[in-house]
Symmetry: C2
Subunit: 273 residues, 2 copies
């Protein structure tokens, strides 16, 4: 991978990079298109990173279909698929970690201890393997995007981090590989997540300034319309990810909800009037 990257760079090619855990959907492909539009050559990686799953999480059952993924990436005109083995990425005496503090204490970081350390460690490794000029991440994983931006800046990675918009199903559900786990009724109910976020946006547009009121409105809607178990609903500062005390300026509204064992996340960025 590094030899290929060196050669591309020697030929003055701009390398775009889309890291994925595979089981691709339209959301991933939209990231590939963003990368293609802004680079000369595009690398996509497929690696289900064991470090970012806790022992109680869904590593073993995480969906995988390399042949399908490869066909989709070839179709999109990706130049290289980087597809390392876990044993190659993490040899037996692997003992290094990359960690971003503070930004990882809230939201998904609170619910999934160690998750973001696994993410930043593997992304740092993927960056040094692929040597891209630009890397594209999805804004469905808003906290991940912010954490990776911070990591890249703090460690002086000479890589432009691009955050691309969330791609949604026709009913508004954010695309996710984990959607494939949903039973038909859960899948139907899951559309409520985005509708609840849109409802919150309306409340704010209408002048609501109290975060707790908005959180309650979102939570009520999810409880009323779905069988999901709320992990968190939060209104946070878009730079620090700390809970806001008053709704002003740009606010990130983020939520995580379990449908059975399947944990879905979504978020929107709103601008208070």
């Amino acid at each position: 991978m590094q030899a290929w990257a060196d050669q591309a760079r020697a030929g003055a090619k701009r390398i775009g990079f889309v890291p994925t855990m595979g089981y691709l959907h339209e959301g991933h492909l939209s990231l590939v298109r963003v990368a293609k539009a802004r680079s000369d050559v595009v690398v996509a990686s497929i690696f289900v990173n064991p470090l970012q799953f806790s022992p109680t999480e869904d590593l073993a059952r995480y969906p995988r279909d390399f042949d399908r993924d490869r066909a989709m990436l070839v179709q999109e005109g990706v130049d290289v698929i980087f597809y390392p083995e876990a044993a190659e990425m993490y040899p037996a005496d692997f003992t290094t970690s990359v960690q971003v503090s503070k930004l990882t204490d809230t939201l998904c970081g609170r619910s999934r201890p160690g998750h973001f350390q696994g993410v930043t460690t593997v992304v740092a490794k993927l960056f040094t393997c692929v040597k891209p000029h630009l890397a594209v991440f999805g804004s469905k994983d808003a906290q991940q995007a912010l954490v990776i931006k911070r990591m890249a800046r703090d460690l002086n990675f000479d890589i432009e981090i691009v955050i691309a918009p969330t791609v949604r199903e026709p009913d508004g559900l954010a695309m996710s590989s984990r959607n494939s786990f949903l039973k038909p009724l859960e899948r139907q109910q899951a559309a409520t997540l985005f509708r609840a976020l849109r409802h919150a946006e309306e409340l704010i547009a209408l002048g609501e300034r109290l975060p707790q009121k908005v959180i309650n409105a979102i939570s009520d809607m999810i409880v009323r319309e779905t069988s999901g178990a709320i992990d968190y609903v939060a209104l946070v500062d878009v730079n620090t990810l700390q809970d806001v005390k008053e709704i002003r300026g740009q606010i990130l509204i983020a939520l995580a909800v379990f449908f059975g064992k399947t944990r879905l996340i979504d978020n929107i960025l709103v601008q208070a009037p």
Copy 2:
């Protein structure tokens, strides 16, 4: 720095790198010569890294003399001196760390909690800033060399890590910027450290197999001949840095001794017969 590195790489120049904390001595210059012999262009950095000093350590009084350092590096034919400001390396919202576990629990890591996390974090940053093909470290800091090698391998840095031999004063004292702190009598006594290591080597050559016997011999000599306070004397496995139970094969003998507030370290690699 990155723009310069990109240009050097575009011109197919091999970049050698010697990171330092300045206040250079012959030991640093020997690293520069190793880098020069194996590269087309050489970068030396001078950065007294606050992250690797604990609040009780000697950051404020660490010796600095940029003009002298610059003259010495120019004399050696270094191409670039990278000399960043602390505020530039660590902006106010800097929250990322790079950490190597296990290897950092022993020896200097036990005495200086957080030290190696500071080292690996800054070295990762220097690597992404300078983009070298090869980086040279001194073997006086044996644990640091091993920790950096591990970090570079684990994070897939495409950089050859070269460990160069310790340069010594005529009486055997390992060169160190901190030697400048020693009072004349301490300076004279400090030569005992290397003599004690050589004595240990002789004992092993003569067939000693019990680590504690060798540790005692080193410690006795230091106590008898100096006013220094021993931090540690250890015989460790050269790959894991764990204490050895029996002297066999390659062994690292390492020590740290305080002369007043000044902490000196030294080590030798011995091959048991």
